[in-house]
Symmetry: C2
């Protein structure tokens, strides 16, 4: 199988991740942060090591790393847990349903409204001028998808973060598709909250994510329970990260995330460059074919390529590719408003090929040959 | 190390669980329920197998098994996601903070009130007469801890379920400490929702749990995001289980839970009997020692034993035991109202020894010898 669905989950986990998980099955099965015995303390220390790894990788403090069950819970926490939760939020058409459905829920039940910004230009880049137009007097948060999981458009988080800071607005970044693919510096980009998925570009197991918070942003819990702190109190503790991490932490998955993050960020610039080259090759080749509609804009080399074959639905193409041994994802990729923007919402979405560290040029050539076969049979 | 903290997390995972996880690192790393390719479908099938395992073990339907990040999230979902969410809830002093803190949050912000029932008798058993007293005209839910994680008291879920059904009240059971230790039949006990922890008596990894629902109970999501269904809609889908399982499922942990559940329930009656015998031995021996205060009631043999040594705090005893190579948990065990009931809330809680499948009589004898050494030095 040639696996090109790395935006859903990276399939080939590095040896260091596998080995870390296997070790954890024998040594890290106690409950971190609960009991005082050696087995529990060892778990707590191992979990803390991963906090430090994430904190140093993305430039925040270790005690501002909140582990979650995934990026979805991290985004729910950022949006619904924000202490400022009242007023207007700006977001974009590139958001995943983990943001959009959460905002829609908040708008229906809470004192929240939101505006979806759709970029004017074809390159998909949101400009600060567009944000200026969307801004209201009570706007308190900007939440953006750093790299689109559908078409790979990368937003300029430096410019958007600067704008947010100048306007006194919280800046929340969904890093599900960018973390592990390129360096993200929370402080340099004025990011208040960065949501991460463990099992995509960070090469951990499914079942873990994190919300990284800067030193000033206040958050309230959205899940209530035992925290190992202030156990006598029936009121959820306010301490961070414990108060936001009710219940037993997913230790083996956290360990995998730590190992995966180290793997992803070792020589990140080199790997990121290689991914860009490979994406450019795929994109250029697809663009050469008349029967293919490419949705990923020119010069967008983030490892995510969206396309359709004329006179075929995306799911037909994905099924045929699957039969030929290629794993891609068709449909809406849980991000409906991108498809409204592309005009593919009511036509079955797009075929998405998403690259990972293990993909090679030879695989891409084979993939293009398979595409050509499908085209020739239309 | 003699590990006696199995109520926090079982430490020695069976070979079948370890092996299932190791295999999953190589074959089940795609995203279940999202894409249509073989790798994703294989994950989806493996996850569905675990739904079936849990459903048949606890007697409900496979499509009423909702996977969560743990028992905490399962209880949050049962309480906050209940479609009936308005009125009065009855609970007990034995509840974990995952219930109590959630109820307290709901009381502060929603149209909810709750009553905590404390048993009159010394055996800790809640009677239906006590529930009758607590019941109000708008009581819509009874939530109880099946086996106390502090003193091991086991509630009579058959009698309580019958009472709840007769009174038209939803019956929610926190099975964190009972699942894997004994058979639980949802239908026979009229349980509407059963919350499970994956990493305790069910011998899975940390980072997974489940809420099992009967065929009639309606639930709404408490976490919003991608579900792989109705992706075009910004409104969270209402389908169960998908609509309640936003985000990528923790596949390896789910696989571990499936293997662990099979392990736990193979010859469950034999193992349950063995655990009772071992608990009885430990309890009887502790009761013989004048310097020990035992909090677990007589004839309570659920694998959980709470005690203190006179003139020593629980944490001192736990620390000394740790030094001698025994892992126990001291303090409040995230269940403050049990300690109010026991009179140990302001005195540092209790020492809890909790047994698992791997504990032996020899270990318990060694443990008692260590206790005697500590007593002799008081």
């Amino acid at each position: 199988m040639v696996y090109l669905d790395n935006s859903a989950s990276t399939y080939y986990k590095p040896l260091s991740v596998k080995w870390a998980v296997i070790k954890s099955l024998f040594t890290l099965t106690a409950n971190p942060g609960r009991s005082g015995h050696k087995a529990s303390l060892r778990c707590g220390e191992a979990v803390f090591d991963v906090r430090q790894t994430l904190a140093s990788t993305f430039n925040t403090s270790a005690d501002r790393v909140v582990f979650t069950s995934g990026c979805t819970e991290a985004l729910n926490l950022a949006l619904r847990g924000s202490a400022k939760k009242k007023g207007h939020i700006i977001t974009t058409c590139f958001e995943h349903n983990s943001v959009l459905r959460t905002l829609e829920y908040m708008r229906a039940r809470e004192d929240i409204d939101y505006t979806v910004v759709t970029p004017c230009s074809e390159n998909g880049i949101i400009t600060t001028a567009e944000l200026d137009k969307a801004k209201k007097s009570n706007t308190y948060m900007l939440v953006i998808n750093h790299i689109s999981n559908v078409i790979g458009v990368k937003q300029n988080i430096f410019a958007l973060g600067k704008w947010a800071k100048e306007n006194g607005i919280l800046f929340v970044v969904d890093g599900a598709q960018s973390a592990g693919h390129e360096s993200i510096d929370m402080k340099a980009n004025n990011i208040n909250m960065l949501a991460l998925a463990g099992h995509k570009g960070l090469y951990g197991l499914q079942g873990v994510g994190a919300l990284l918070i800067d030193d000033t942003t206040a958050l309230k819990a959205i899940k209530f329970g035992g925290t190992g702190t202030y156990s006598e109190s029936l009121i959820q503790p306010k301490d961070i990260p414990e108060g936001l991490e009710s219940g037993t932490l997913p230790t083996p998955a956290i360990i995998s995330l730590g190992a995966g993050c180290k793997y992803a960020y070792k020589n990140i610039d080199k790997h990121s460059f290689r991914e860009q080259i490979l994406t450019k090759f795929l994109l250029d080749e697809l663009n050469k074919r008349d029967k293919i509609i490419v949705y990923t804009p020119d010069n967008t080399y983030s490892g995510v390529v969206a396309f359709n074959i004329k006179d075929k639905t995306a799911s037909e193409v994905a099924d045929e590719l699957n039969e030929k041994g290629f794993a891609v994802r068709s449909g809406l990729q849980c991000a409906p408003l991108v498809h409204k923007y592309l005009g593919t919402l009511d036509t079955g979405g797009v075929v998405r090929a998403s690259l990972g560290r293990k993909n090679t040029k030879t695989q891409i050539i084979k993939f293009l040959n398979a595409i050509d076969e499908i085209i020739s049979n239309v």
